[in-house]
Amino acid sequence: MAKKKKGITKANKTKLVKSVTALKDFVTKDSSLGGVTITNLYQVNNSANQVTFDLDFRNFGVSAVTKAELHDVNGTDVQLLNDVPGSLSNIPVGSNTLIDGKFLNIKSIVTASSQTPVPQNLNVSFSIDGGATTQAYPMPPAAFNNTGDSIVIDISIFFFHI
């Protein structure tokens, strides 16, 4: 009975080499795209009050575009914002009772323009209001190292009650 050949095959070796090269490029290349995520909770109450959010981009001279949706695991998603430029203030999400058990998904891209002093750290403040309390969510660290760099901010907030 012929012994099964041990070790990696030529095809797998090629795949591995490609993966390592891609990973190397990823780490070493002066790429202009970075990202941060926020996954967290927001406590709603039993009222019909409107819950709103603020997303304020504080780096001087950046260009920002945002899209947002109310994600329902068991139903249809509702689009709240579609490619809106600039900082956002007092954006309605829905009433406390309506959004309980749903997700607020926000995705933004922030780009350092020629007006933005670089390098500098990403400076964005994000907060939700109208529920049990006003809550600010700290932004994970990221930096614009060169003019033209972009950072993708991916936020998902689950609305729950106590």
Partner: protein, 436 residues
């Protein structure tokens, strides 16, 4: 007092070096974070190829501005102006000024690019245009820049903000819209990839969260369960983002998206603000003389405030005007021979300037005339100033200017009071000239 000048120069250099160092440290400090937060970029050089002639309030009050009537500018965090008008450029310049934008330095709210064109409220415009300047020079009693025994050190402090600012030109608006369009393409590409990559684990965790939330409020361990699931979901989502960004920047199947990211970077780099329309700026400041070059002995030579307004024509003709009140407790700017009792003199200036620009803002020619009324008329006569100035942008942060004309304190034929200077201006700052 010469030491103060040298100290000021080195302090400015140190400030720039410190800023660059602290900025440069950010990526190093965050190196560990880059793995967790998908920060992909590396340190690169800081581009500073944007220079304006020294036209800040500090230079203006010190009487060494090329033009007294300034065009409006878009600011950056920090700008250093150096003026050298002497000795065939063979020695260090004797006039320096720094200009700071608090909004850019401290990331004050409301400074996104879209808000630069139409600020939502006046406070946004105020912060975007507020600049604080500090200047130092060595000149004689006639404000002539010199380094001989008659010269002494002068310090100037200035503050400036806009009341009315021109809107962007159509081409600036076009380039901004292009940046937003490219951002939308990248964002939607990211969204599609993330949704496609959201694996069954994400969906299971989301469903588990909804289920835990539906448990009766008094169920034991309900809140801990929700918190535990959100923690797991956080890790999974971070991983998905990492994969998505890897695919977008290094993947072979999304070359169109990669090209869009490169286009976005190029567009953001090339973006320049040009404005066109009416404007009105408020400026105020104070100048101190140190007549015997001792820090303990200073005189307030000049303090004042002025409005500059008019029509900024972008890369074409601009017409500007000025109304200025100056109070000179210890000295009069229009003093002919220094023998008059010139304490507590108030003057009122009114003037205009016309600027012709060409070669896409590289070349400009301007004529400026200002009439000075002395409010204490019994002490000294009114005076006037007429200056012709031409500027040429030589290249990377270098500019040549030639000025000729008559200053407030005399005539062309008398006492050599003609203003005639070939300036070579070398800048380290990032003040953006509107009509660039």
């Amino acid at each position: 007092m010469r030491r103060i000048t040298i100290l000021f120069f080195f302090a400015s250099i140190f400030f720039i070096a410190k800023q660059q160092q602290s900025f440069a440290q950010a990526p190093i400090k965050d190196k560990a974070d880059s793995i967790n937060h998908n920060k992909l970029t590396e340190k690169d050089s800081v581009s500073l190829d944007v220079l304006n002639a020294p036209a800040n309030p500090a230079f203006n009050l010190l009487g060494i501005s090329v033009n007294a009537i300034e065009r409006p500018t878009d600011l950056s965090a920090f700008a250093l102006s150096i003026k050298n008008a002497t000795n065939s450029f063979t020695k260090l310049p004797s006039s320096y000024a720094v200009e700071l934008s608090p909004a850019a330095l401290f990331n004050i709210k409301g400074q996104t690019l879209d808000n630069f064109n139409k600020p939502e409220k006046y406070s946004d415009l105020f912060w975007q245009t507020l600049s604080i300047s500090l200047g130092v020079t060595r000149s004689d009693t006639d404000d002539k820049e010199t380094d001989d025994s008659t010269s002494f050190t002068k310090l100037g402090f200035g503050l400036k903000f806009s009341i009315v600012r021109p809107k962007w030109t159509d081409s600036t608006r076009y380039y901004y819209d292009e940046i937003v369009r490219l951002q939308s393409v990248v964002l939607n590409g990211y969204d599609s990839i993330v949704k496609a990559k959201a694996n069954s684990k994400t969906k299971v965790l989301e469903a588990a969260l909804v289920e835990a939330n539906q448990l009766p409020s008094d169920s034991p361990g309900r809140l801990e369960k929700i918190q535990n699931i959100i923690k797991q979901l956080s890790e999974v989502r971070a991983g998905v983002q990492k994969e998505a960004l890897l695919l977008m920047t290094a993947g072979e199947d999304v070359s169109a998206l990669k090209q869009t990211i490169e286009k976005l970077k190029a567009s953001a780099k090339k973006f320049k603000i040009e404005r066109k329309g009416g404007f009105l700026d408020f400026t105020s400041g104070l100048a101190l003389d140190f007549p015997d070059n001792k820090f303990s002995n200073s005189l307030v030579s000049r303090a004042g405030m002025w409005l500059t307004g008019g029509y900024e024509g972008g890369n074409k003709t601009s017409v500007l005007g000025i109304l200025r009140y100056l109070f000179q407790p210890d000295k009069i700017f229009a003093d002919d021979n220094g023998t008059l009792n010139t304490k507590n003199i108030s003057t009122f200036d009114a003037g205009a300037r016309i600027v012709f620009s060409g070669m896409r803002g590289k070349f400009s020619f301007s004529a400026e005339g200002i009439y000075r009324s002395v409010l204490n008329e019994d002490v000294i006569s009114p005076s006037w100033r007429l200056v012709f100035n031409t500027e040429y942008d030589v290249g990377f942060n270098q500019k040549l200017t030639l000025s000729i004309g008559r200053n407030f304190n005399g005539t062309i034929s008398k006492d050599g009071t003609v203003i005639a200077a070939l300036n070579f201006i070398k800048g380290f700052g990032t003040t953006k000239k509107i009509s660039k």
